[in-house]
């Protein structure tokens, strides 16, 4: 990418050297000035480009070392708006292009950002846009229940859908194959022997060693984006809380943050502290669950039941103090729905101290269990290079030494006052992902402690103000799996026209395909659990 390239300057669209300046400002003090000059969506600098430059822009961003953080499209009248969110050093840049009516082709970002492959297939499937130069033309979330010319996110497609009586079998999906007398093909799922979400895994194995793994997801596609159209803010917050049940607080907060940013509503101070308490409580519950589940996948019954017990006690406290075990629908547009009861203020520090001491007691038991350590250490190693290529998030990235954490890099209120440090490990194996979670448990307990100390009496909700037509917002929150990026746009009457939640699993699922290579087949469940992507959050 060179600054000498001269692109056609059309009204409103940025020439490419202007883009380079914007890209170079990411992560520097210049970023604020750029934002003031060029306009912004939430925390992200808005950067319109013409469709012809869409691929070149990605190339320039890749050259600058940006991370491709999300991509989505929407129909606006007869034309199409396509967005790509880029990040570098905690600063975000929103690339946007408008495809004129009748045109559906756009250069793909995948050649420059491998992590963009599935999000682009998602956009292509649901909107019917074409990404030229995309290496994969197979359907992704739009399984055979939709006809060749049916695109569920287009405005003319009915909300109720047009489901066929029987969904056609997905026989034509061409999985990668290998030939040889020793190669086994092992299809697993989408229905599994345990009670988990559906997803298909296709292994190619040489004896027990995995040669290749290919995922086929999309079985839990619920049409979240379509269902959001026309909702009021309250309704959208409820819907966002159901994108992935285990991340209900994270998604609801990201959606509310985006809506508040669009409407210019600032939630009151007390609500912000409470939101932080909720999301950290969600993080603790899920990390406890995952550590227990990793123990279970190695058949280490003692560890499994101890961590399950701790999680259960934690969830019961949620129910007692905040009225819901998973804290669903506790975050609402403009604030929070429940207050911190006096009982919780007095009892929570004690409960957390008890959890801390149990965790400290359990850690040496895990550390000293030889067979358990033998299973987790060195299993499923993810190279740091892959994390950078795919843009992996959360504990998956942090276990490879890349401290991606919104709370540290792009802290929003109230984290800007807390000084969170991302927990990292460098080995990138199952053990690293396990121990990153373990340390984050303690870090989250510390954060809750701080929140409890600093929370002041005050109102819980700011009155909602209907935003102007086309007002849009971006929410960026560190959920327990990693960064959640959510985009919303309103119509003139205060209801939603576009809602796009991007769960961190989108970039962690492809990492699983890489980290399993060279491992043995019976270690897959353990590696999978250590990543624990959300099927529901990915499939939308």
């Amino acid at each position: 990418m060179t600054a000498t390239r001269t692109a056609v300057k059309e009204d409103g669209f940025m020439v490419i050297d202007r883009l380079t300046a914007s890209l170079q400002s990411l992560g520097t003090p210049e970023f604020g000035n750029e934002k003031a000059q060029a306009g912004a969506v939430g925390p992200a600098l808005l950067c319109p480009v013409i469709p012809e430059d869409w691929g070149v822009a990605a190339e320039a961003a890749a050259a600058q070392g940006c991370r491709w953080a999300a991509g989505w499209g929407e129909a606006r009248g007869e034309s199409w708006v396509v967005n790509a969110l880029l990040e570098k050093s905690g600063d975000y840049l929103l690339l946007r292009t408008v495809l004129p009516p009748g045109r559906t082709g756009l250069p793909s970002h995948t050649p420059h950002f491998p992590g963009a492959a599935r999000p682009e297939r998602h956009t292509r499937d649901l909107l019917g846009l074409k990404f030229t130069g995309h290496p994969d033309d197979r359907r992704w979330v739009r399984h055979q229940a939709w006809g060749e010319r049916e695109f569920p996110l287009r405005p003319d497609f009915p909300l109720s859908g047009q489901p066929p009586a029987v969904t056609a079998p997905d026989r034509s999906y061409g999985f990668a194959s290998a030939h040889g007398p020793e190669v086994n093909e092992i299809p697993v799922g989408p229905v599994h022997a345990g009670i988990i979400e559906p997803g298909h895994f296709r292994f190619l194995a040489l004896g027990e060693t995995v040669l290749n793994l290919e995922e086929r997801l999309g079985y839990v596609h619920k049409g979240i984006e379509k269902l959001a159209e026309g909702r009021d803010p309250e309704g959208l917050a409820r819907l966002a809380g159901r994108v992935s049940g285990d991340t209900t607080v994270g998604h609801a907060w990201a959606a509310c943050q985006a809506m508040e940013c669009a409407a210019g509503v600032a939630p009151p101070e007390r609500a912000l502290w409470l939101r932080a308490i909720f999301i950290e409580r969600e993080r603790v519950a899920n990390h406890l669950n995952d550590i227990g589940a990793i123990c279970n996948d190695t058949a280490f019954a003692f560890g499994h039941y101890q961590f399950s017990r701790l999680r259960e006690l934690w969830l019961r406290d949620n129910l007692r103090w905040f009225g819901h075990r998973l804290l669903m629908d506790r975050i609402v547009p403009g604030g929070v729905a429940v207050d911190l009861p006096a009982e919780a203020t007095s009892a929570m520090p004690g409960a957390m101290a008890a959890l801390r001491s149990e965790l400290e007691e359990l850690k040496p038991i895990l550390d000293e269990s030889t067979i358990f350590q033998d299973r987790v250490v060195g299993a499923g190693v993810l190279p740091e290079r892959i994390v950078r290529e795919l843009g992996c998030l959360g504990y998956v990235a942090r276990a490879c030494g890349i401290g991606r954490d919104v709370r540290e890099r792009a802290p929003h209120a109230p984290y800007d006052r807390l000084g969170v440090k991302a927990v990292t490990r460098s080995d990138g194996d199952v053990a690293a992902r396990l121990y990153v979670r373990y340390e984050e448990l303690f870090a989250s307990l510390d954060i809750i402690d701080q929140c409890l100390q600093r929370i002041e009496p005050g109102p819980l909700r700011t009155a909602w103000r209907t935003p102007p037509a086309n007002a849009e917002g971006l929410g960026l929150v560190e959920g327990w799996r990693g960064e959640i990026a959510t985009h919303v746009r309103f119509d003139g009457s205060g209801s939603i026209v576009r809602f796009f939640p991007r769960d961190p699993s989108v970039f962690n699922w492809p990492a699983l395909e890489k980290l399993i290579l060279g491992n043995i087949v019976p270690d897959f469940p353990l590696c999978n659990k250590s990543v624990n992507g959300s099927y529901s959050g990915h499939d939308l």
């Binding site: 086994n184 092992i186 345990g194 009670i195 027990e208 190695t298 058949a299 019954a301 560890g303 299973r375």
Partner: protein
């Protein structure tokens, strides 16, 4: 009379095997802070399965429906030749330890073939893993048994136990080694943690369960039952060879009563020990199994060597 008693013993063995598994599960549940199902739960499960029609894949050959019966018969017959609460029964005289090992191998041979018969990936994977483990476990087991045979100068289990009861309590280093070897083999052969996890739902990690994934209804019931018999068989073998005291040597009601109480107590204690071990260790990486079974073989071999060096 003897034959009647032998028949009663064989039938009792088969009928009581589910109770042993139930008891083991009950202890494990308590150890893991869970509310246990009653120890007779396996009987309910078997009844339920026997009441269901088996579903057989279109691709299955005659081997698939025949295997459960072969496996069950092999297990029940091996139960008949092991001294349960009395020795010197006529059934014990017609078969020895080599036959016992042969019965185990027969059942496994058919299970492994049936696992591959339908043509699913899991069945083949399970069969391949099972045969890998069996090929390592069988020599270790034979070696442990030969140690006993050398001491008692017979391969007949009943006669050997008789000999041990006659010589009374003697500290034999060879037996300690052989016991260690046989314990490890038993864990591997009955599909317990740390080799295999009988309770897992993770289809990719299964060994024994992967082979029988396609079975349902009464076929599954027979295979499960055979598995329970096999588990108890190893328990009885270990209890009666290494701690033979209490076994009935005359067929009087008192002696038989003592024999029954003794084996119940031994098996009960053995199940507690197994449950403790299973709760406190994790499952090994599959490719560590050969080290585990190599160690079992080493122990058995040391048993035989120490017999030759120290005890002859």
């Amino acid at each position: 009379m003897d034959w009647l008693l032998a028949l009663i013993q064989a039938v009792l063995f088969t009928l009581l095997a589910p109770l042993f598994s139930g008891w083991l599960k009950w202890v494990k549940c308590l150890l893991q802070n869970r509310r246990p199902p009653p120890p007779w739960q396996p009987y309910r499960d078997l009844r339920k399965l026997f009441g269901k029609r088996p579903v057989v894949a279109d691709t299955a050959s005659w081997l698939f429906p025949v295997t459960p019966y072969v496996v069950f018969c092999a297990a029940a017959l091996s139960g008949a030749i092991v001294p349960f609460f009395a020795v010197d029964l006529p059934t014990a005289a017609i078969a020895d330890m080599i036959v016992l090992v042969g019965f185990f191998a027969l059942g496994r041979f058919f299970l492994a073939l049936a696992g591959m018969d339908v043509g699913t990936a899991f069945g083949g994977m399970g069969s391949s893993r099972e045969m890998t483990i069996a090929s390592l476990a069988e020599p270790a087991m034979l070696m442990a048994i030969f140690t006993l045979a050398l001491t008692a100068s017979t391969t007949n289990i009943s006669v050997a136990i008789d000999y041990l009861l006659d010589t009374g309590l003697a500290l034999r280093p060879s037996f300690l080694f052989a016991l260690g070897g046989l314990l490890l083999v038993a864990v591997a052969e009955t599909g317990r943690i740390p080799i295999d996890n009988p309770a897992t739902h993770l289809e990719l990690t299964m060994i024994h369960e992967a082979m029988i994934l396609e079975y349902s209804g009464r076929h599954l019931a027979l295979i499960e039952w055979a598995g329970q018999i096999r588990l108890m068989l190893y328990g009885v073998l270990i209890a009666n060879i290494f701690l033979p005291w209490g076994l009935a040597r005359e067929f009087t009601p008192e002696a038989l009563g003592i024999g029954a109480a003794a084996i119940a107590a031994k098996l009960g204690a053995l199940a507690v020990a197994l449950a403790l071990a299973e709760t406190s260790v994790a499952k090994m990486r599959l490719f560590r199994v050969q080290e585990f079974l190599g160690f079992a073989y080493l122990l058995s071999l040391l048993g035989m060597l120490s017999h030759i060096i120290l005890e002859v």
